[in-house]
Symmetry: C2
Subunit: 371 residues, 2 copies
């Protein structure tokens, strides 16, 4: 007998101070519970158009090809790589964390000849370093992670895209953690292909992966002969998103309602005000953590993701026990380090509804009384 048959699904209220999913505006829950309509309903086509407009705004792009892939953030990563990497193609990956490793793994599965520029986790790449490496390797595709969720490091996109453009390479940027909470700026950063997720900076439920493609990359894709995925084929997905909406898959209706509403929430606040709010929350949290003896994992403040703070716990404090106490006493969900950083750092997300003075102070008090 399913428990849900005896008792309806009732989830506990949590404070999601992890790297995502994050807490969601009540408006978004309400939108998601709106009645489902058919996939060719004029109302639904209208929602789709709104989602595209809203995504162009948060991505900072005029790219026509901009929409959510029907899967979680990692489906966007696979979409970007599967479409723009052909078997044997030389692909440079700037590797400084778990998600660059994932890019590597996916690129290899699609037959790429991968060359990695490796740095320690938490480090970022300078314009000079990137230029020297790319001039020497001269790849056709370059992939990097703008906001590395495993380390908390933020990579300046231009440092990589400028030399990549010089050698004519297509650039793929992982913006899974950055979108909606700090500047991604696809166009002014000369990014060709950017993908993200719904459940971090956009404060929407997980399940969608926004993607955007520059006209230059799109033109390249038109000439590609075959591609080894059907579900994530961007040319087919685009035909569904654009009129006359050629059938490809049945869209996840309620998630489209949800992201439409989440994008409207962002527009009402104003994108720049939202960025600034996350920046203020970041500084308040880092200062507060410093008082409690937590050292930032990313040493240079300029290279830090604002809304995902990574910190080493003070000596004598067990990070796993701290997280358990926070969950038990306060319902605070916080993330541990992953991969190489397992057991070494905390990853504290302060996204959307949690990026306020009040919530940061609540979190700091909770940490302080749980150490």
């Amino acid at each position: 007998m399913l428990k849900a048959a005896e008792k309806r699904t009732e989830a506990p209220e949590r404070f999601l101070f992890g790297p995502g999913p994050t807490n969601v505006d009540p408006r978004v829950y309400k939108a998601m519970a709106q009645p489902i309509v058919g996939m060719r309903d004029p109302f639904f086509f209208d929602c789709m158009a709104e989602v595209q407009t809203g995504l162009r705004s948060v991505f900072g792009t005029g790219n026509a090809v901009t929409f959510p892939v029907p899967g979680t953030g990692s489906s966007g990563m696979e979409t970007a790589i599967a479409n723009f990497v052909t078997p044997g193609m030389k692909t440079v990956i700037f590797a400084n964390g778990l998600f660059a490793d994932r890019q590597t793994e996916i690129a290899k599965r699609h037959g790429a000849q991968v060359v990695r520029f490796e740095k320690d986790w938490g480090e970022v790449f300078s314009a000079d370093e990137a230029e020297t490496f790319l001039e020497r390797e001269r790849p056709q595709v370059v992939a990097f992670v703008q906001a590395e969720t495993s380390t908390g490091a933020f990579q300046q996109a231009k440092a990589i895209t400028t030399p990549a453009k010089k050698i004519g390479a297509i650039t793929i940027a992982d913006c899974v953690t950055s979108l909606g909470a700090m500047p991604v700026e696809v166009d002014s950063n000369d990014i060709d292909v950017a993908y993200s997720c719904s459940q971090k900076g956009l404060s929407c439920p997980p399940g969608l992966s926004p993607i955007t493609v520059s006209p230059r990359a799109w033109e390249w894709l038109q000439k590609r002969e075959s591609i080894d995925t059907w579900y994530l084929d961007l040319r087919l997905l685009t035909k569904w998103w654009d009129a006359p909406h050629v059938y490809h898959h049945t869209p996840p209706t309620t998630l489209i309602y949800a992201i439409r509403e989440a994008l409207a929430v962002i527009e009402e606040e104003g994108l720049k005000s939202r960025w600034e709010r996350h920046h203020r929350a970041h500084e308040r949290l880092v200062t507060g953590l410093g008082r409690l003896g937590f050292e930032p994992f990313v040493s240079n403040p300029e290279n830090r993701i604002w809304h995902l703070v990574t910190a080493r716990v003070p000596s004598g404090v067990n990070e796993a026990e701290l997280r358990t106490r926070l969950m038990e006493k306060y319902g605070i969900d916080m993330a541990a380090g992953i991969g190489k950083l397992s057991g070494q750092i905390l990853r504290i997300g302060i996204m959307g509804p949690l990026a306020t003075d009040e919530k940061i102070d609540f979190l700091l008090d909770a940490i302080s009384s749980s150490m």
Copy 2:
């Protein structure tokens, strides 16, 4: 300015008499609007376990590997094929509709050597025909569609799986439209790999693709060296679904809540009662349509999907105009033929909350007054 910023997302109420998405029980909407929790929250792991139990029940299987793939129904199709078809592998596809064509396309993209057994759309395959073909071709993989959404035809699985088993081939069944509304019976039908969707027979929002894998097929997969997709890699997905839940993607929390509740709704009704309800609704609709001059597209009643009725419109009636009138006057969303059958048939879904005497009579009255 996004319209949703001025006015909240408010969807119109529709009667979804198409092939899906279908109308959803209010309990499912309520579950979906429950607070999001972290992906390692004990409550969420509990939900995941419930979903696996519920899916095994509707699939009619004891398969350990049973869970929803984080994408729509077509992602399940690609998952099944990408995992069980290796480049160069001989793959027989029983082709009698659009979704068998899609299986063909996906198998080719993954490098299969495809041999198609073709029949007219709306036809099904007999045990003798299947055996003769398979004995001659001796493929390693056999794919077919149990409930063909484009034609309304239902294929008896055993007719194909019995001869396939004899030659040692792995069988892949598309159960996208059958699951939850009529018997799929994976185990007693000897199906190795079955995939489905959330938005048809399960009456849940779209966005998930339940899949199940037999121990025999799973054993085969363990020996496979590499696979050309990462997002849809079943071995990685299974490691996330099973304890200790190795991180792969961020799960679509709210859709997992939704399918958990939808499965509980089914359990409360009883799976067999639910099948019978859909069968009764089918007979009432076909009889009523007959009175109005609509001829069933699938001639043999035994080969018809119960909850997706396909019918030719009477001469003199324009099917597109009929659908427009039904939508405008009653908010009824009904589907046209697709592919080869475009303009020739109506596809009328009577799933979940719509498979009742009352709703069928409402639909028949609406059609009658709109002709």
